[in-house]
């Protein structure tokens, strides 16, 4: 057995740059590696990688960046990346492997763990490591976020997927030095059994929900699609984006890419204004990073009031237009 060492981050890119979730993972990786007195490496794969992505990874704390450029990364991203990561893990034998709980990471994490025959701590919001032998301990929300499970991994490598926005990204430091190692694995077409035929963006223009500083969310209590017009106007006024509960998306009032929650998007705005949302745990699972939650709801017993900083117990039909009007005046007056 070769000795295990280091923390390996499975990285992702977004528009040619390092994805925000990978910066967050690098911050976590550094704190784990410091305890082990080991190093942090990241692996990036794409059909074509920009030099900026690797430079970003170093600036956020990677000592080594493994890069893989291959056409299969475009055609069959998950399978191609899984094949590469499996090889890197078997060769470099890291102590810990961190993967973002993103769309791709949700496939890659379990796929990797099963290939290696080890357990996976899935969708973690806390990750700690006392010493190598004691194992990795993580906290993950379960039962739709009603409860938390503290789980331990005892067999190396410790593989964990980490919820986006659960950790703050570290300071970007362009003076950091690191090594970029281009890997040239021979990936033959047989690894790619799932092929992407078509990709289409359905997102509307404007601020992305995940990145918005202000989010206005609508729930089933709005009664139909029409009130979303008012929510859109309010969001625009505040430079934010509109989201919704799953109940609203299931009803077809807004498209599914509005959904916030466990099985929707994860948001972390400074201000999240909820209108007629009850605050079910599965919804709150997507906004635990919101710094200030505001609730407009007619039922004082709704769970949302347990999560909110400011609340109004009122019928939205009366409260929301007056709220929006006053916001407009305040924003105009500067």
């Amino acid at each position: 057995m070769s000795s295990t060492s280091g923390v390996l981050v499975v990285g992702e890119t977004q528009n040619g740059r390092l994805a925000p979730v990978t910066a967050e993972l690098l911050g976590l990786a550094r704190s784990l590696a410091r305890g082990l007195q080991e190093q942090v490496a990241v692996v990036l794969g794409a059909e074509k990688l920009s030099p900026e992505a690797a430079a970003d990874a170093i600036a956020y704390g990677a000592e080594t960046v493994y890069t893989v450029e291959h056409a299969l990364m475009e055609q069959s991203p998950v399978e191609a990346m899984l094949a590469v990561v499996e090889r890197v893990v078997r060769e470099k034998t890291p102590t810990v492997v961190l993967v973002g709980k993103t769309l791709a990471g949700s496939d890659l994490g379990p796929g990797l763990a099963f290939r290696l025959g080890v357990g996976l701590a899935q969708d973690c919001i806390e990750v700690t490591l006392d010493s190598k032998e004691k194992g990795l301990v993580a906290v993950r929300p379960v039962y739709g976020g009603v409860a938390m499970a503290r789980v331990a991994l005892k067999r190396m490598p410790y593989v964990a997927t980490v919820r986006p926005k659960a950790f703050d990204p570290p300071q970007r430091d362009t003076s950091r030095k690191g090594e970029v190692v281009a890997l040239n694995p021979s990936l033959d077409a047989s690894v790619a059994r799932v092929r992407v035929l078509e990709r289409a963006s359905e997102e509307s223009a404007g601020v992305r929900l995940e990145d918005a500083r202000v989010v206005v969310g609508g729930g089933r209590g709005l009664g139909g699609p029409e009130p979303f017009q008012m929510l859109e106007e309010l969001a625009k006024l505040l430079g934010g984006a509109v989201g919704a509960s799953r109940a609203v998306c299931d009803a077809g009032w807004v498209p599914y890419h509005y959904q916030i929650g466990l099985t929707g998007k994860t948001i972390a705005p400074d201000l999240y204004i909820t209108v007629a949302i009850s605050g079910a745990s599965q919804h709150m699972a997507g906004c635990s990073g919101a710094r200030n939650i505001v609730a407009i709801n007619k039922d004082r017993d709704s769970n949302i009031f347990k999560e909110a900083r400011f609340g109004v117990v009122a019928d939205w039909k009366k409260a929301l237009p007056a709220f929006a009007e006053t916001v407009k005046e305040l924003v105009k007056s500067g």
Partner: protein
């Protein structure tokens, strides 16, 4: 040979149970619902059943659907729901050793059962089980059975020896293709699962599930050991204290809320 679809469904605690009614069983380390709240078929698994039935509708007389579930015990009227919706057979993997297994062990049990079932074309799963929210078992199954895996499907179409899947991806849509046999996980965006009709319910009453125990699957007991150790299950304390904004009437409350947010420099 008809197209053989295997759907994996899990019986779970009803996620619609109000959080305040749930409690943690510290011995068993799981959540329990009040005795009068029956369990349900995991919601996404009903979507997977619906996906299978739509394929069956499109190829009358040419599709067989086998439902597979693993657990310690089952509420028969609950676990038979996929049969009453129109599935053909139910295989229960039932054993005391299958109580509250982790994802690693569950995938090994299901994989052994699928191998025992023989030839198949598609394995359908839900995108995740609403109890432990793992979203791991299907990817595990794909690895153990050597199948291509496609997750989070909102539409599944079978053509010849291939499957075409529309996936829900952040900000858009993606269409992928895989050769059969393949494993696919289904999400609620597929659409409402159908309600069982009277004929379906009658048919389901007559059907008896096939029951396999651990011994029937020739499983290495070591594979039932958890790969992830559950140390503690707890309910996080909420320390937020909401400030309720009062006013003369609802409109006034709305206005005061806006002023409050300005005062707090949030807008």
């Amino acid at each position: 040979m008809p197209l053989h679809i295997i759907v994996c469904v899990k019986q779970v605690l009803d996620p619609e149970t109000p959080a305040s009614a749930l409690r943690i069983d510290p011995q068993l380390r799981r959540m329990v619902a009040p005795a009068n709240v029956p369990p349900v078929v995991n919601g996404f698994d009903e979507n997977a059943v619906e996906a299978a039935l739509r394929i069956k509708d499109a190829r009358p007389g040419d599709v067989k659907i086998t439902v597979l579930s693993c657990g310690k015990s089952f509420a028969m009227e609950v676990i038979k729901k996929p049969l009453s919706m129109g599935c053909d057979e139910l295989v229960l993997l039932q054993d005391n050793a299958f109580d509250n297994l982790d994802a690693f062990a569950t995938a090994h049990v299901l994989a052994a059962a699928i191998k025992k079932l023989g030839a198949f074309d598609i394995v359908l799963c839900g995108r995740q089980a609403s109890d432990w929210d793992q979203a791991q078992v299907p990817q595990g199954l794909a690895q153990l059975l050597g199948l291509p895996g496609v997750t989070i499907a909102k539409k599944v179409e079978v053509t010849d020896k291939k499957v075409r899947v529309e996936r829900v991806v952040p900000g858009g849509r993606e269409v992928v293709e895989a050769s059969l046999p393949a494993l696919i996980t289904v999400t609620n965006e597929l659409g409402q699962p159908r309600y069982p009709n009277l004929r379906g319910i009658m048919a389901a009453t007559r059907k008896q599930p096939v029951v396999w125990k651990a011994g029937d699957l020739g499983l290495d007991p070591a594979l039932l050991q958890p790969a992830v150790e559950l140390q503690e299950l707890f309910i996080p304390v909420q320390e937020k204290n909401v400030e309720i904004i009062e006013g003369e009437d609802d409109a006034d409350k709305g206005r005061k809320l806006a002023l409050k947010l300005r005062e707090a420099k949030l807008i």
